[in-house]
Each structure stands twice: as C-alpha cells, then as structure tokens.
Symmetry: C2
Subunit: 274 residues, 2 copies
C-alpha cells in the first residue's frame, strides 16, 4: 500500500499503528521519529520500525507521514516536515482535536487528511503498543472540501486494513463531539479525583476507580487537548453544570419522583452506550 | 455461627450474602423476604435461601436479621420487623448511608450494628448474586459507643467469613467518606451521560464508558441515597466545582504550566487508588 511510512512520534498510537502496518504488510519500510532515543530503540526492538532517528530528515522519501505526537507538537513540527517531503506524500495526524490542526495542516500539506482513532487508553508510550489496538475501534476522519478524494480513499483503506471502522466528520463537528465524549469526561475525572480527601482514597472501590480511571492519563497531552478545544469544552461544561443543578435541585427540594425521573433517563442513555 | 438468618431484601447484596452464608455453612437455615415473588423463587432456585415469603413474619426466631433493601425501605421496615424478633437477635443493615439509619435502628434493635459492604456494581437483583461477591472487598462497620461488643465481634466474624475485610468508622464519618468516594462520583456520572447529545453516543469509547458506567445504577436506590446524604454530598459537590474551576481558569488563562501541574497532581492521586 505504501513504500515508506514515517511515524513521527512513536508513542502508544504511533507505535501501535507502526506495528499494525508491519503486521499487515502495508508498507515496504517503516521509519520512526522520536525525541527520546529510548523510544526509538524500543520501537525497533518490538519490530514496529525498521529504523529510527531523533532527527526529522529520516522522513525523506516517505509516501505516508503519520503525525502521532501531542497536539501542539504536531503544529510545531508540520512546517519542518514539509521541507523533507514532496507534494504527493500523504500526511495524516492522529491528534485528539481537529479544527485548528486541520486548518493549519491542510495549508501546509496538499495530501493531508485529519484522522482520530478512538483507541488507546490512559496508558502511553511504545511499551504499551500493540498491532491489535485498532481492531474493532472507530477512527474519525475529518476531510474537508479541499481534501483530495484519492488521498482520502487511501487513508480510509489504511485504517480499515488495521481493523478500524471509519466515520467522516467535519473538523468542527469532530471537536464538538469530542468535547462531549472525551474532553469533558476527562475534565470531570481529573476534578473528581482531586476532590477525594487523601484519607478516604483507601475506601475507593470499583465505582470510583472506573469513574476516575482516565484521570491517570498523561498530563501534558491533556493540557494541550484542553487548550486546543477550550471553547467547545466550556460549552459542554455549562451543560454538565446545568445537569448537576437539576439533580441537586431535586435533592434539595426532596422531590423524590423528579429525582428518580432524572436518574432513570440518565440510566437509559447510559445503556445505549453498551 | 447462626441458627436462623433472615435476609430482608433478596437483591444483589442480600442474595450474595445469603449464598455466601450457605456456601460457608454459617447458618443452619436461611430465609428470605422480598416484595417480589419472582425474586423469592429465584433465590430459592439458586440455593440462596431455604424458604422465602413476601410477609415479614418469616423472620420469627431468627438470630441474625440482614436488612438489605434500599435505604428508605430499611427505615420503613425496621419497626415492623422489631415485632417478630427478640432482643438477643443481631440486626445488621447493608445500606449505603449510615448516620440516619444507625441512629434510628440502634434505638429499635438492641443487637444492631450498621454495615456497608463496598461490593456490588451497577447491576442489581438476585440473578447477579454470587457467593464470592465479598471476597477481597472491604466492609465498613459503623459501631457506636452503644454497640454491644459481643454483637460487634460476631458481625465482624460474619464479614470475615464471607471474605471481606472490615474497617470501623463512626456513622457520621462513614457518610462523609461515602459522599466523596461513591455518592459524588455517581452524581457526576449521571450528569455526565445526560450531557452527551444523543447523536454523539455512537462515538463513545472506553473512556466515556468507564467514566459513566455507574450511571446505569438503579434510579430509585440512588434517589434514596442522594436524599439521605444530601448535606455531605452538597459539601463534596462544592469542592468538586472548585476543582473544575481551577482547571477552567488555567485553560481560560492559557496557563499551560499551571494546567499541567493540576493534571499531574490529579494523576498522582488517581494512581494511589490502584
């Protein structure tokens, strides 16, 4: 499918995509870029990449570049990478926000398509990578009217080949959707665990653990996601606060039947999630 | 350990305790009370109880009564049950709040000890019961200075025998602890899933699922818990809102290093939970 794939950022997602490309023989060669030498060594040892470098010039000659660093690093590296690749090269990113990245990257790379695999976990780094990470997962694509259709077709094929289903969204829609399904839940989880007094942590059982699991996500990655999708997150947060108020009003007013009705409708919605 | 154990409320917790008592041969006979005939039939079929009834008089002659109904039903049934048992009978409840219940029940039953097994899940009813539910779990006990020491000793033995570790807390402490480790997380989870627009539910992945799993808990049980621990929950909620504000201020002020610091400390706390 590709001659040379360059993975910029050999972390959990980049490393897993590299492994999946290797396993499914989707490229003749895979190279990796990381700021950390240890990550490159580990990626090579795991067979995710054929060679790696801390320097960007290793992407030269690639026909697919995957930007798999944190959001703000993607924006930083993009113009530097543009110097090493030609116009036919397909470029995708796997960042968690899309409006800003998509606007900037589509101006830099003619062969750009925004993608966001909804896979991964609170764990990070190459050591947790696996070729099967994307199996049965959903990958959101954010093509615009400027996106080259052939390029889009090939990017869809890539994600299908590693086991993901794809859905197209406008970059703006993507960021709104993500503010609800991921960014607000993370903000809530971080805040929730902060609220539990140290002395009560020892009583935390599965409910608390599940509800706050994503609070052990990487701090810098999440700081950047929050900063890059602030407007949508604040809107989602306002709705969240309204929903909290609806419950607290029912509690304060001792309106049991209203309270049951609210919780019932939350439960019904949760059950749709599966 | 006991001659006749009466389980009032053969749901997930009552049913599991009955099964564990049977399995570990802790009682000569176990009887069950439920409002629903189907629950009694199922409990008998699963071997959780020897006989069951929708009528409370089946508790007659019990030396251990376990109140395992929702919080408000415990308060309702207690005086009725008192007519059928003698003063030597040990009475425990497994309710999720303790201050109100403990004050009322210790006046009604000389042999009362409040207990709260931190086991179970968003699933309920006898069909999800298992004899192993309490293995490796923590059971909070809320004895007061009025609690009979012998009775307390026997109740501790019971919970140890079914695989739980026990910790003593004052009823008031218990309710404060639970507002943080369970009630606020439930309130947040119910509100969080309510906030997600229907059309985005299909994009929900493991992060959203975990964070909102407990929102599929039973609505009536949770309405009663919220109502019976309102004061503590509101205090915990205020702290939660403060923690949300700290994050949103850092986002709004584009203060990345402060944001990273907050998320870092949340992550460190979450990792203590295991």
């Amino acid at each position: 499918m590709f001659k040379k794939v360059a993975i910029v950022g050999t972390g959990l997602i980049g490393g897993s995509l590299a492994l999946a490309i290797k396993k499914n023989k989707l490229a003749a060669s895979v190279v990796g870029v990381s700021r950390r030498e240890a990550s490159i060594t580990q990626a090579r040892r795991m067979g995710a990449i054929d060679s790696g470098s801390r320097s960007l010039d290793i992407v030269k000659g690639a026909d697919l570049v995957v930007l798999a660093t944190p959001v703000n690093t993607i924006l930083e590296l993009a113009p530097k990478i543009a110097r090493f690749i030609d116009k036919k090269c397909i470029v995708i990113d796997v960042g968690s926000t899309k409006e800003e990245i998509s606007a900037r990257l589509s101006r830099i790379f003619p062969g750009y398509v925004g993608t966001h695999p909804l896979a991964g976990s609170e764990k990070r780094s190459i050591v947790h990578s696996s070729a099967g990470l994307f199996k049965g997962s959903l990958c959101l694509l954010t093509p615009t009217d400027k996106t080259n259709k052939k390029v889009l077709g090939k990017v869809i094929k890539l994600w299908l080949a590693v086991g993901a289903k794809t859905v197209d969204l406008l970059p703006r829609e993507h960021d709104i959707a993500l503010s609800f399904i991921s960014h607000l839940p993370h903000l809530a989880a971080f805040s929730l665990i902060q609220t539990v007094p140290q002395e009560f942590l020892k009583f935390g059982s599965s409910g608390l653990k599940d509800t706050t699991r994503i609070a052990s996500s990487d701090s810098r990655i999440w700081a950047d996601i929050f900063l890059s999708n602030a407007g949508n997150i604040f809107k989602a947060l306002d709705l969240f606060k309204n929903n909290i108020s609806a419950i607290t009003k029912a509690i304060a007013g001792k309106d049991r039947s209203k309270l049951v009705r609210i919780l019932e409708s939350a439960k019904a919605k949760r059950e749709k999630l599966g």
